[in-house]
Amino acid sequence: MKKFVNDPANFVKEMFEGIYLANKDKLKWVPEYNILYRADLPKDRVVVMQGSGSGHEPAHSMIVGPGMLDACCPGNVFAAPPMDYVYECTKILAKDNENGVLHLINNYQGDRMAWDMAREMAEADGIKVGVVIIDDDVSVTNSLYTVGRRGVAGNFFVIKAVCAAAANGASLDELVELGQKVNSRVRSMGIALSSCTPPAKGAPIFEIGDDEIEIGIGIHGEPGRRRDKIRPASEIIEEVFTAVHDDLPFQKGDRIALMVNGMGGTPISELYLLYGLAAKKAEANGLTIAKNYVGNYCTSLEMAGFSLTMLKLDYVIESLLNEPAEIPIRVF
């Protein structure tokens, strides 16, 4: 393994320290529980948090800020946050704020159980907690770590829409309803060219040949639909687009948001190449691309690969996606 790490056991902690030091005026950091939260935590509205495992950056530790998450509490690399991380984070958010806390949870068994327990404990403290489960991956119906579909890059749209609505003062019930609505309209599927290496494991999480791709890869290297030989990009887009498009299904005339998400190790040049192909497919299918997203949103460490996400917009969701946001990841 060749990585920029010290003791691999401290990988997540040191990453958090870096995020914190780059944003000391905007973020607060609780090292014991992997918690990052807004220094100017809102007290007059519902607050929103997300966790899941680390290794998917910028999700979720680098997307805490105005217009996006109020806090995050991820677990170790590819591991659900322990129940007490979620509980502690919920308590921090609920301090002097009776509007409630919204839990955004990707659909994995470990996450579901940890968040469920934390919610029970928080509710016993008198904290109002709402829950939205995200499961946008069309690749497989059940998988290594899930009953039902997996939550992958589509979580970005749930987070963005729900957090914008929270900032506008929506109630906990309204946010749960909105989150479920966005989740019900978003679909994703991923392709891997390479494996990835969690620092504490020190070895790739799966083997893949130089000329092979995994179709329908999960964001923790879980197997997808099948292993195949590498093919021209347009053929790969054809298959992925069709799988995503036909699942909802999207229909002629729909306004959509189209995302080509990098898995961490794909050059942005290739992501734009893929976007161009996907955009042409979308237009050929009578879809109007109202919003587009190209880059790393939900990664698997250094995995080379991408996922395609499509969201069916309506006026409300599109307006929320257009709201301003400010997070630690920036290019200006």
């Binding site: 322990p82 129940m83 007490d84 509980y87 159980m113 940890a114 469920d116 327990m117 029970e120 016993a124």
Partner: protein, 213 residues
């Protein structure tokens, strides 16, 4: 002893931990028959964490203590056993918040809440051949004892006998939940490690409580 003191509650948890750690290999062997042979290791890992974090628990009430135990168990027990056993302590901890002693009626209510929580968390039903069946036998026995006004220690002994009996009662059942269930009918004639663990723990608890006097 008509109320369980906080000191006794601590003794119960310590006894459960000792039982889990002492039987690590045995519980894993039971799991190896039909499961993935990690139950003993997982459970011992969780209870080792409990003993390791003992000094850090908030001992202001039985409830705060058990909530600390729950957190240690959940975070340190491998596989799905973590949330399942964690829920047992969490629900009891919530029921005993602010209390330094609890009566049999309160213990029954807490265990009922724990069973409901575990069923929700793991999706198990009564009769699925999981530790829920053992916990249910305990509650039913305790309820009978409460009704007939038996002393708490007698109630505990009877409940323990009921839990140990479940080990044999359920032997010929088909496992419907957890790793054991993957083998379907082949689970008939085998012991469920979770049910055995509950029985062994309650047996050890009654011995420890009676020795403590």
């Amino acid at each position: 002893m008509d109320k369980l003191s906080q000191k006794q509650a601590e003794l119960i948890v310590r006894t459960m931990a000792d039982t889990a750690i002492r039987n690590e290999a045995y519980f894993s062997d039971l799991d190896a028959v039909m499961g993935d042979a990690d139950f003993g290791v997982s459970l011992a890992g969780g209870f080792n964490a409990v003993l390791g974090q003992w000094e850090k628990f908030d001992m202001s009430s039985i409830g705060s203590f058990l909530l600390g135990v729950s957190t240690a168990i959940t975070g340190n027990t491998g596989g799905c056993s973590g949330p399942v056993w964690g829920t047992l302590f969490m629900r009891c901890g919530m029921a005993f918040r602010g209390k330094n002693e609890v009566g049999l009626d309160e213990i029954i209510a807490a265990l009922k809440s724990a069973i409901e929580g575990i069923m929700k968390r793991g999706g198990a039903q009564l009769g699925d051949k999981t530790l829920v069946d053992a916990l249910d036998a305990i509650v039913k026995s305790l309820e009978k004892s409460l009704e007939s006004g038996e002393p708490m220690m007698d109630a505990f002994k009877k409940a323990s006998d009921a839990a140990v009996e479940m080990r044999e009662t359920t032997k010929d059942w088909v496992a419907k939940r957890g790793r054991q269930s993957f083998t379907g009918d082949r689970s008939i004639g085998t012991y469920d490690p979770g049910i055995v663990a509950v029985g062994d723990m309650t047996k050890a608890i009654t011995v420890a409580l009676s020795q403590e006097g």
